[in-house]
Symmetry: C2
Subunit: 518 residues, 2 copies
């Protein structure tokens, strides 16, 4: 049994290295790849994905899992294995089951198509040209549907999963065990209460944000971001920051976790809050304990749990009053001309301005989840086939009007680049990913309730820029588990409850009632 | 036969993509990898190298080569294949023969050790700490010796290659068919004539280089280098420039050829001439014709032929009077304060100052080859075992005194960082590579003789910044062959002669006689 376990660990290790080699090529594609290198890069990625897949699904993996599985079905055998190895087997088994159902040529073809689609998206976005992206989007939808079918979801597998749609199969990649129906229930409450709050806020005077409408040179933004990362505890010997069209975090090695942001000279906050958000992801990845770091257990419990960490840092910490009391002087020193006559309180109010925007990643906390619910509704219909991809730009506009109250004839320019083309996700075939962001808000605030009861003096620590106790709490409570627990198990272990909308809504309603004097 | 050929092309293609994925990870390691990511990166590279090797040496490759080999042994069969496919088979056979003799675990272990050694070298160089690098150097020597042994060189294979040393086996990687004895004959003449020239020059007054002893901010150097690359015809949609400890060129894809340079605010020429040198390599890589680009034939004929291209651009073009007549105004516009009162002629004279230096890559044209001959002598003795690696720093100093007339007590600081630790090559196990640089000088000037007889007006074209006819000549004469010809065959096809020292020595003696008024 020990020998079998060691062999399985070797398979896991090689798979992880191959995945991280692919991650390095993808990171490069988003940051430094010369324009004409895109096509061959897609071929290289397809080959690497194919090899990783092929090596994971060898009959030997199946045999080893079977051997160890019959042991784990036996209570005595089970107890003979350390808990961590039982968790390792659970994750390997899920990964193997998922992979073995996909034919190798399908995996290669999907990887190749994703590479090309992503490149086409980046160009279509630059040119505001949805038509150029449409064939790739259609291909991505086909691949996603086929993938869910292979996994046994959807009508064709009606006998096995009669209640589960193709879309449920995709959701399950990111949030195991949470079908669209369950998400729909949570999102309905969320949408109604957020829309009501938004309505009230619209009647109130807005904070002064005039001092942010200046030029903040990119070099100075980049220099501040280096300080910001260090302030947040990002270990710059174990990771780095670069610029890309779409901010992201990627793990190229246990000690090589990279984040990206993007810069606009006229928008200080966009680049800055992306750095805080991505640092939240990176701190999670950097924080897995040593005993997990050489296994597949060094991973987030789910995408929504990962987002709970990034959005916690971005919003609960990064948009809080004490955070800017602590950090504002540093920011002002980087931009003395622009911010010399401003204050921490003014900045706190400005970064919490509620003003529905066309761009998801620039959205305020109140309207953010509405962007997600919009995408959830649309991708559900794209995958079910109810919505034809060529109709997407029109329907996007319609939903944007309905959910966010934004019209194409406001003084903001409305175009596809700032609409349906704004996100990278669908270009990579990542349908089912978006709900994680809003679910992350819910997880995050439910965790925060517990955190605040454990560390009542949290606010004064943040104001002093002292994050040690917060890290320790995050490490001991969340990071330490890696993906040993399913998301619902982790939530229950930390908070003793199931996923709820109320902690998030109470936080939002409380914060903005005070800010806008509702 | 057609089916076999297609299968062999598929094997070649996958091998190339895996090599280029490795090249991407190595490029990243030299440019952007966070310090603590080094160890796992070495593991990832070892895995990729191992997979590439394993897939190349499958029994199927042997079977396919055998099948096609028996055909190519038959004259009728031979003629039935297009010439390009026969060349493809020659290169694949050589690659397969080389690879199949190395055990897979040796290849993985070597790749892992190289990754660690390179990282240790970079740190040792920063810290001027040869002792920290010594164990890695010893390991690299062992791996190199073992490699040559596996290939059948050296004493243990005396029956087969009685006249060929282990070092010949390593030389053969870079310069097929040229043993140390042959190189030794050329290098002896070279050393004597260059030493004599150096002696004469030492008695002459030096050109004014005071105007170069100013501060040239790195950002401005980087901006000029972008213009310089474009001026030289480097297609920036098919490649890019970054900074690294040691300048290099690497091919990450047929349309993704990257160069690096390094910057010193007090030394404008170092970064600039590295860019010209590496662009020479890159133009060769970018210039292979379309029909070769999806095969292993899209490669340099040998390392020395590659160096003939880089050193041609760096010296024959980049250190010529007409070149600076054309480019000086652009350089002056980038550095108006520093160069506003200077001239093209002054710069031409300054970039050709003959002043032996401790650093090979900063050496002038006259002393450069002496740096190489020094390394050739030392690595020959390291590989034969005559010279113990721990003695290297002392012997390096001794040879530096003898060959270059430089003492450790000159006003230049002499230390191992600027001595034996200055080059990356040995840290990567690349013994046998150095001679290519000096051989490249010889090839380059032999090609140049022919070029000048074909384009008599070359100098006025260069002065006008018009490189089109030069490119066309290089493409039609050299690039077009890729590695279809062995280096000696290519040289003979272009010049009708074997490798000689005279074209290079006549160029050098003529140029410096004029410059120094000898």
């Amino acid at each position: 049994m020990k020998a079998a376990l060691e062999k399985l660990h070797a398979i896991d290790r090689e798979y992880r290295y191959l995945e991280r080699a692919s991650a390095a090529l993808q990171w490069d594609q988003e940051t430094y790849l010369p324009p004409k290198g895109v096509e061959e890069r897609a071929e290289q990625l397809a080959l690497l994905e194919g090899i990783a897949h092929e090596r994971l699904i060898t009959p030997e993996t199946g045999r080893l899992l079977g051997e160890l599985g019959s042991v784990s079905a036996n209570p005595r055998g089970d107890e003979s294995l350390p808990a961590i190895e039982r968790d390792f087997l659970r994750v390997m088994r899920r990964r193997y089951d998922r992979a073995v159902k996909l034919p190798a040529d399908f995996v290669s073809a999907a990887a190749r198509a994703e590479g090309l689609s992503q490149a086409a998206w980046a160009q279509a976005r630059r040119n505001n040209d949805f038509a150029a992206f449409l064939p790739h989007l259609t291909t991505m939808i086909d691949f996603a549907r086929k993938k869910a079918e292979y996994w046994g979801f959807g009508d064709r597998a009606a006998q096995r999963n009669s209640a589960q749609s193709l879309y449920d199969g995709l959701l399950d990649i990111y949030e195991p065990g949470m079908p669209a129906s369950e998400i729909g229930v949570l999102f309905t409450v969320l949408r109604d209460r957020l829309a009501a709050l938004l309505k009230k806020i619209k009647l109130c005077p807005q904070p002064d944000t005039g001092f942010l409408k200046q030029t903040f040179p990119i070099e100075a933004q980049a220099a501040f971001n280096q300080k910001l990362m260090a302030y947040l505890g990002f270990d710059q010997e174990r990771g780095r920051l670069d610029a890309s069209a779409h901010p992201f975090t990627t793990t190229l090695g246990a000690d090589d976790i990279r984040i990206t942001t993007r810069y606009f000279p006229g928008n200080l906050l966009s680049g800055l809050f992306s750095v805080i958000h991505e640092s939240g992801h990176a701190l999670y990845e950097m924080g897995f304990p040593a005993e997990l770091r050489r296994t597949c257990l060094a991973d987030g419990a789910s995408m929504a749990i990962h987002e709970s960490q990034s959005r916690f840092w971005e919003n609960v910490i990064g948009r809080s009053r004490p955070f800017w009391q602590g950090l504002f002087p540093t920011l002002r020193d980087c931009f003395p001309e622009q911010l010399g006559r401003s204050s921490a309180e003014a900045l706190y109010r400005a970064v919490n301005e509620v003003k529905p925007s066309l761009i998801r990643v620039d959205a305020d906390e109140v309207s953010y989840s509405l962007h997600i619910i919009l995408r959830f509704e649309l991708e559900k219909r794209l995958i079910s086939g109810e919505l034809a991809p060529e109709k997407l730009p029109a329907v996007w506009r319609e939903y944007t009007r309905e959910y966010l109250g934004l019209e194409s004839d406001t003084n903001q320019r409305f175009n596809d680049a700032d609409g349906v083309l704004q996100d990278i996700h669908w270009s990579m075939g990542s349908f089912g990913y978006f709900p994680s962001y809003a679910l992350g808000n819910l997880y995050g605030l439910q965790f925060t309730q517990k955190l605040k009861s454990d560390i009542p003096e949290l606010e004064s620590l943040i104001a002093a820029g002292k994050f040690e106790r917060l890290y320790t709490w995050l490490k001991d409570t969340i990071y330490c588990w890696g993906c040993r627990l399913e998301p619902a198990e982790l939530l229950f272990k930390v908070t003793g409850a199931q996923l709820q909308v109320n902690p998030f809504l109470e936080y939002i309603e409380g914060k903005y009632t005070e800010l806008y004097g509702l």
